[in-house]
């Protein structure tokens, strides 16, 4: 993937998470989103402010995937979770916990990890 162009704000966000400075964007009404966003799809506000992720979020839902796409074949079984960080929810790979021990509401932090199959970067959550 060496000559692949960066995906703008997405890769910028991953860089920031790697530096421990992950953020989401938020309108004045408290609607949170991941970049790139030029307008809040909820209220139409174009005044969006970068806001740091809180220290930890809570697992909202999760699934352990056994049948994957070819880009994740060597990662199986892996767990994908949606995590609630207050105004924003984030999807990522949940690592560092046995799938049987995962619970909805469990506190997790956000970092960047490597996908086993392709070596590409991915959003990763770990229990806090």
């Amino acid at each position: 993937m060496t000559d692949k162009a960066r995906d703008g704000e997405y890769d910028d966000l991953l860089d920031a998470i790697e530096d421990g400075e992950g953020y989401y964007v938020e309108c004045a009404s408290g609607h949170g989103w991941l970049p790139p966003r030029r307008v809040c799809p909820d209220c139409g506000s174009r005044e969006l402010t970068e806001t740091p992720f809180p220290e930890s979020g809570e697992v909202a839902t999760y699934t352990t995937v056994s049948v994957a796409t070819p880009q994740f074949s060597a990662d199986t079984p892996y767990t994908t979770a949606i995590v609630d960080y207050g105004p924003v929810r984030v999807t990522g790979l949940l690592r560092g916990v046995d799938p049987d021990d995962i619970e909805v509401g469990m506190p997790v932090g956000i970092e960047v990890g490597e996908r086993e199959t392709t070596g590409d970067r991915a959003v990763v959550f770990r229990p806090r």
């Binding site: 995906d7 997405y10 989103w33 991941l34 799809p41 909202a60 839902t61 999760y62 699934t63 352990t64 995937v65 056994s66 049948v67 994957a68 796409t69 070819p70 880009q71 994740f72 074949s73 990662d75 892996y78 994908t80 949606i82 924003v88 929810r89 984030v90 999807t91 990522g92 790979l93 799938p99 909805v104 996908r115 590409d120 991915a122 959003v123």
Partner: protein
């Protein structure tokens, strides 16, 4: 208002046709629909065609003119892509054109070739209905996305894998007499529970199969049908469509499908009917949990109550609210771009008294078809009624 009529329908058998090209599949369905309608092909004014993964499965874009040619038509042809709701979207545009008087005869349909790229290839192709940056790169698959919703639903309302297994058992039962269905075998709740996991809590029997197939319907104005003496008693009396945020993480709800609810409300209002008037429904059960969410979105069940409908036998052909008498996507099969029009075909034949189950629902007058794209970021709903 006189409502557009479903004047003819055609399907290929749904199943594994790995070596058949998309154009051949669509030609079979399209010609069958024209023959079924009796319409002179020269009267067809447009083709509205649904397809999702043609670029990935067949390295073929720009499919609409290719498909028009395949059925021998020289008409303006447009492809609709709304993931699994592609041909539902095509139907909606055809209905609007016919109502406006801009056209009297439109061929709608869709096709998908999927098994030629294998399970891994099809899983990959289906996944791109999700958000690439924020879902696919986090390992989200199509079954995985519905698994995330299933867990959220169970947590909020209760429900078990066994409840979902009853949806699969019912839809397999319904597919038994359907000669176009991919999976015509009886299964048990135990079979479903014992099957391998795909994305926990969803197992293999919670998922629709990977399917090749095509569907088509000749839609005409009521005036055209009458003028030419066609026997076309079923009209499309209501149409609705809505969208939602693409990624689950950005939705207001993880356990509801508001786009389907909005599309249903619009379609019901358009047809001047309500959920209580619906006699039969074909809903988008790409996964068992999707049928539960669909019957709640359509207002056939209150939120949180759809989960027990199959277990209680209510949505079985012998129940009060038969759902997916074709076998649904689960057992009939799900050639993605063909599904929306296949649902219209199923409801039409049922209401015309020409389907295997027609005698079991012989007083049915109102049917509804619910077609959903991705995790219901796209939804179309159509109401079909027997016209006087």
């Amino acid at each position: 208002m006189s409502h557009p009529r479903v004047t003819g329908v055609g399907l290929t058998p749904f199943g594994k046709h790995s070596e058949r090209t998309g154009r051949d599949l669509f030609a079979e369905a399209g010609l069958a629909a024209l023959d079924d309608s009796g319409v002179d092909p020269d009267d067809v004014e447009a083709l509205f065609y649904g397809n999702f993964m043609g670029e990935l499965a067949e390295h073929q874009g720009h499919q609409a003119p290719l498909m028009a040619e395949a059925v021998g038509l020289d008409v303006p042809a447009t492809r609709f892509e709304a993931a699994c709701a592609s041909s539902g979207a095509a139907v909606r545009e055809a209905v609007r054109h016919l109502r406006s008087g801009e056209a009297d005869v439109i061929l709608v349909g869709g096709s998908e070739r999927m098994t030629n790229i294998g399970t891994a290839g099809a899983t990959d192709a289906l996944s791109i209905a999700a958000d690439d940056l924020y879902e696919i790169r986090a390992g989200m698959t199509f079954p995985g996305a519905y698994a995330l919703m299933a867990r959220a639903y169970f947590r909020e309302y209760g429900g078990t894998r066994e409840d979902l297994a009853h949806v699969a058992v019912k839809n397999h039962d319904h597919a038994l007499p359907n000669e176009y269905a991919q999976l015509r075998s009886e299964i048990t709740v135990e079979d479903a529970l014992d099957a391998p996991m795909v994305a926990e809590p969803l197992g293999l029997y919670d998922a629709c199969p990977i399917t090749d197939g095509a569907s088509a319907a000749v839609l005409t104005s009521a005036e055209y049908a009458e003028e030419h003496g066609f026997d076309a008693p079923v009209g499309i009396t209501g149409t609705g469509q809505a969208s939602d945020r693409m990624a689950l993480q950005d939705r207001d709800h993880l356990l509801k499908s508001p786009a389907a609810s909005k599309a249903a409300d619009e379609a019901y209002a358009d047809a001047d009917v309500g959920p209580d008037d619906v006699d039969v429904a074909e809903v988008h059960d790409c996964f068992t949990i999707a049928e539960v969410l669909a019957i709640e979105s359509l207002g056939l069940y209150e939120d949180g109550e759809g989960i027990t409908a199959a277990r209680e036998g209510e949505t079985h052909v012998t129940g009060e609210m038969p759902v997916n008498l074709s076998g649904g996507l689960k057992a009939k099969g799900h050639p993605v771009g063909a599904t929306g029009v296949a649902q219209i075909a199923s409801i039409t034949k049922l209401l015309e008294g020409k389907s295997s189950w027609s005698d079991d629902v012989d007083d049915a007058r109102v049917g509804v078809a619910h077609n959903a794209g991705g995790t219901v970021a796209s939804a179309t709903v159509h109401v079909l009624e027997v016209q006087e």
